[in-house]
């Protein structure tokens, strides 16, 4: 009897030890994968360059970005020629998407859709609504989540989100590829992101799944390819050269990137007073 008890205790101890080891193995693996993915796009830099007596750790260096491209996007169920210009930032979380869409045989349509934190608005011109008489800012607060989702499903948003999620980020392997899965938070709580890395640790596919099936518009799929330093001011940041976004299996955006700059200090997203007022009603 005593032998059986001892054996049971030994087994329990062994199982516990294995469980602890397994949990311990998961954490460094996650850290290693995230570091490799962050390094692959060049978002980790250490900041003691030029100083002999300083040895600082690395930090996530990416804040603002500006990308310009062209291709096609969905307009009323049809893919039409599109010029695409995006300014974005992660501190604060903000994005301004400017598109000029020209249907075949039709007139060009110009839109500027902006989001910052909990505010969303459309601009008749860049910076509209900030100075009286200089353009119109139309509050679009119902669009906050959809616009923020665009920001956080770009490769840098995905990596920041996965790092931010900490222990809630899981690393797995699917078809030989490394997959990161993590929940979004804040305005995007209730949405899970699944990101696939290629052999060079670059984010090549992103899928989102809302917990609530009624939020079908928050289920998107994005493919990123042709990574390179697409900046005129070279930074060693690797950004996609081709973006494809799909919703419900249908392509809604297919853009070839012409330039993608990082940390341009002059991308700003002040919220127009009327947008702030509308959000409080």
């Amino acid at each position: 009897m005593r032998t059986r008890t001892a054996a049971t205790l030994l087994l329990l101890a062994l199982v516990s030890a294995l469980a602890v080891q397994s949990a311990g193995a998961q954490a460094p693996d996650r850290a290693r994968v995230l570091r490799a993915a962050a390094d692959a796009v060049g978002m980790v830099r250490w900041s003691d360059i030029g100083a002999a007596d300083v040895r600082l750790p690395g930090i996530d260096i990416v804040n603002t970005m500006e990308l310009v491209g062209s291709g096609t996007s969905d307009m009323g169920g049809r893919l039409v020629k599109t010029d695409y210009h995006v300014a974005l930032g992660y501190n604060p979380a903000a994005m301004r998407v400017e598109m000029t869409r020209t249907p075949e045989g039709g007139a060009a349509q110009h839109t500027i859709q902006t989001v910052r934190d909990t505010y969303a608005w459309d601009e008749s011109q860049i910076g509209a609504g900030l100075v009286p008489g200089k353009g119109t800012a139309t509050p679009m607060n119902a669009a906050v989540q959809e616009r923020l989702l665009q920001l956080w499903t770009l490769p840098f948003g995905v990596l920041k989100g996965a790092l931010f999620a900490g222990d809630k980020t899981t690393v797995s392997t699917e078809g030989g590829a490394t997959v990161l899965t993590f929940p979004l938070t804040g305005q995007l709580a209730g949405i899970t992101v699944k990101a696939t890395l290629d052999a060079r640790n670059l984010v090549t596919k992103v899928e989102t799944r809302p917990d609530n099936p009624a939020r079908a518009n928050m289920a998107i799929e994005a493919d990123y390819s042709d990574y390179a330093d697409h900046a005129e001011v070279l930074t060693d940041i690797k950004t996609p050269g081709h973006i494809v976004r799909k919703q419900g299996g249908r392509t809604i955006l297919d853009i070839q990137i012409k330039s993608w700059e990082t940390n341009d200090p002059y991308l700003v997203f002040p919220v127009p007073p009327n947008v702030k007022t509308a959000a409080t009603r």
Binding site: A38, A51, I59, N63, V131, D236
Partner: protein, 310 residues
């Protein structure tokens, strides 16, 4: 028993000695954080009771030769090997273990420095019609930055003076010229604290450092300046141009051996709202002497073939 006690005592002594040596080693080792220096010592006062700002101020908080300090000045503070945050927004910034296996060559280091100095969130908000111009300035800073052509940095770009002399009726600020990473011309300012008022703006010819007057608000020296020309940018990065109507209010507060400086920039022509810099903290360097000011002679710009900057 007594022998055992002796062994334990000896072992304890060795442990403590080892710990002391390690601590000493740690103190001698490289700095692994870039947080502003913590104040130490008392704040000396002049006969009239104000804090005495006299001294050479430089080092950990505001040394133009040290990129980490510029990083802190531009907003990201690394508090430990696991914690960093943006000073302006408070937002956490992810920290990664240092990669020691991949030293950067000069080109990569310049690119990293360029990114690092532009990562903070504290940005002035210009009127939208100037957004493209500011962006153009920074994008083309190699050619456009007035300071790169040996012009004075101006105010508030000069930030914390390297030397302050405080007298009963005025303070004297010295900003030695810097060669190398950021070349600037020597600047000095003689700022009255005798209660006089500003000359009307219309009567002033614009200058690089403007007309400054100062007064004390409690233990803070408040320096109020206007009458600038428009030939300077008002921060080290960003292409932040200004008009001749710029008005700058600097605040300098001594706490022990530290000096904290901020500046608020008002420019009704260009800015949508006043902008306040991220606080910068300098350390007193007792006994330090200002070095010879290096001549600023621009020789590199003609050879610059890309838009990469530092």
């Amino acid at each position: 028993m007594r022998a055992n006690s002796r062994i334990i005592a000896t072992a304890m002594a060795l442990v403590f000695a080892g710990a002391a040596l390690l601590a000493q080693e740690a103190r001698r080792g490289p700095r692994t954080v870039n947080a502003p220096p913590k104040p130490a010592g008392t704040t000396p006062r002049t006969a009239d009771g104000h804090p005495d700002l006299t001294g050479v101020w430089n080092g950990l908080g505001d040394n133009l030769n040290g990129v980490p300090n510029q990083l802190a000045n531009n907003g990201i503070v690394i508090e430990s090997d696991t914690v960093a945050h943006d000073l302006h927004s408070g937002q956490a910034v992810t920290v990664f273990p240092r990669n020691t296996n991949r030293p950067l060559n000069n080109e990569q280091a310049e690119r990293a420095a360029s990114l690092l100095r532009r990562s903070g969130s504290n940005r002035p908000i210009y009127k939208p019609e100037y957004w493209d111009m500011v962006k153009y300035n920074d994008h083309n800073a190699n050619e456009e930055d007035p300071s790169n052509n040996c012009m004075p940095a101006g105010i508030p770009r000069g930030a914390i003076p390297s030397y302050i002399a405080q007298y009963p009726n005025y303070v004297f600020f010295v900003y030695p010229g810097q060669g190398g990473l950021i070349a600037t011309q020597t600047m000095y300012r003689m700022i009255p604290t005798d209660g006089r008022k500003h000359t009307p703006l219309q009567e002033l010819d614009g200058s690089y450092t403007g007309e400054s007057i100062a007064h004390w608000e409690g233990d803070t020296l408040v320096v109020d300046s206007w009458g600038f020309n428009s030939n300077t940018w008002f921060d080290q990065i960003g292409g932040y141009m200004h008009s001749e109507n710029m008005h700058v209010i600097e605040r300098l507060t001594r706490n022990g051996n530290t000096l904290t400086w901020t500046a608020t920039v008002e420019d009704p022509d260009y800015l949508l709202e006043p902008w306040t810099t991220t606080p910068r903290v300098a350390l007193l360097r007792p006994g330090a002497m200002l070095p010879e000011s290096q001549p600023c002679s621009e020789r590199d710009l003609a050879h610059v073939v890309t838009k990469e900057h530092h």
